[in-house]
């Protein structure tokens, strides 16, 4: 079974600064996807970024980027130029790559507060 671990229950960052959220996972699979989801106070689940394990290049989406270390099974999220709207819970998630869809396995989340 896959497990996802987010070791930082809470973090804070000053507005305009950079912050990195950590995520490690355990799997025997070779092909999989990794995700970061943002959940603001509204509880809506918003996809932030996705990484395919077979791609060596780290995914980026505007101010969000990841550091994917496959051998170390590490998948951290870097938020640059933090904004007040980035305040939210952030979940790391894992999905096996199969012929059909497989469920996401989530970490317990990191609550990020951006301070003005």
């Amino acid at each position: 079974a896959q497990t996802v671990t987010q070791s930082q229950p809470e973090m804070s960052v000053q507005e305009a600064e950079t912050v990195t959220l950590s995520c490690t996972y355990d799997t025997s699979e070779n092909n999989y996807y990794l995700f970061w989801y943002k959940q603001p106070p509204s509880r809506q689940m918003i996809l932030v970024i996705r990484q395919e394990a077979y791609k060596q290049q780290n995914a980026t989406e505007n101010r969000f980027s990841v550091n994917f270390q496959k051998a170390a099974k590490s998948f951290s999220l870097k938020i640059s130029d933090s904004q007040l709207g980035d305040t939210a819970m952030y979940f790391c998630a894992f999905m096996k790559l199969r012929s059909g869809n497989t469920p996401l396995v989530f970490g317990k989340g990191t609550r990020l507060s951006v301070i003005a």
Partner: protein
Amino acid sequence: DAGITQSPRYKITETGRQVTLMCHQTWSHSYMFWYRQDLGHGLRLIYYSAAADITDKGEVPDGYVVSRSKTENFPLTLESATRSQTSVYFCASSSGNTIYFGEGSWLTVV
């Protein structure tokens, strides 16, 4: 472009009552999922379905029943609600490697 909708959005029920949370998607996605979110646990999978009439247990299935008679609907039933089932419930559907979430159903069992 409704996407995926959950109903009710908010529900208070009493211990022992049966409750059904509805989930409807307009995309004809084959796969659908039910998760619950509790403080300190993230999102945990309750049940999922690969197609109509095909369902499978997730991590925390006890106390829940699902059905999938039509591709677009995936109701979740709590046959006899308990206080430990107070939670936020998320329905999701997927196409390829993208999972789409509903807005959540807040359930309180008193």
